[in-house]
Symmetry: C2
Subunit: 156 residues, 2 copies
DNA sequence: CACTTGTCTTGAGTAATTCAAAACACCGGC
DNA sequence: GCCGGTGTTTTGAATTACTCAAGACAAGTG
């Protein structure tokens, strides 16, 4: 597997270094991870690595097209290996968790807005906002607790 | 017109204050402006206003549903008055300019992704990326200049 | 194996935003 | 029209995510 990651880097025309392999390995285990998360993961294997190195690696891999950088509102930047296909993201409004979503329409329709105010459209990006399964459960049990309190209060 | 803005605030259940009126007035003149731009505009009319007051006003108005906050990747947060309708944005990849775009599909289709990984979808947000008219022109004249240089070099 | 080029470490700096506490102002009631 | 409570604004500081720069170091070419 290390050899595979090695190949990924070479094919992108990049030098193969330990921090780069570590970042790639970390991202396999944690898709949509942020720089800080990856830094934590990389440190476990390569304790000497600096945060700036991680930023450098992420920048280089993103420029080379190996990684895609996504930046949901209110959340630090996240990175993913899936590049070159048309997929979008759903972000949890409560905890910020991210999951992949394939576009319902394939890709064409969303790339053709009606009026562009003179802009040339290069790409379209869709972000869905909602609740992840975990936060749905948390919201439900919280609602249950609240209504229990309400019952108690209104019965006095 | 000041009375109109006044009414906007009262109807949202908010106290009417000079900074709030000034921010609302500024946003009428500059839709999609960021906190810093608005701070600059507000200062012209209300020199004593602090940047934190502007952040406070923007936060309060956003929570009250009077403003919408948009946060394109790589750009500070921007605010707009158009709320409650289904429209999206196109952002210039070069200068960050933002324009409104009405969704081709109305609103329904983009709200129904095929597989949501267990997430509950609350809303969908589409960001188009492209070049604004100004940057298209700049890119063209730069390309022309580059090819002129190329001509000169290749003719030697 | 040496050399070149690009990468990583170390250290500092920046932009956008948030937090906290005290002074102040809006506005409903008197 | 004035007063008081509540919410807003000011002042000042802190935080987060990220970028910049310079020198030490390592990957890969020949």
């Amino acid at each position: 597997m290390i050899t595979q990651l090695h190949a990924v880097l070479r094919e992108a025309g990049l030098k193969v270094t330990a921090p780069r392999l570590a970042v790639l390995a970390a991202i396999e285990n944690a898709p949509h991870a942020g720089a800080d998360d990856l830094f934590g993961a990389v440190r476990l294997e390569l304790p000497g690595t600096s945060l700036q190195a991680v930023y450098g690696v992420l920048g280089a891999l993103t420029t080379a097209g190996v990684l895609r950088r996504i930046e949901p509102a209110g959340s630090p930047a996240r990175y993913e290996r899936r590049v070159g296909d048309n997929h979008h993201h759903i972000v949890c409004t409560t905890c910020g968790a991210v999951a992949d979503v394939d576009c319902v329409h394939g890709d064409a329709p969303c790339l053709a807005p009606s009026a562009t105010n003179g802009f040339t459209v290069q790409s379209a990006e869709i972000t869905f906002w909602g609740l992840c399964p975990k936060c749905q459960a948390a919201a439900q049990s919280e609602a249950a607790a609240a209504s229990a309190v309400h019952d108690r209060l209104s019965s006095t």
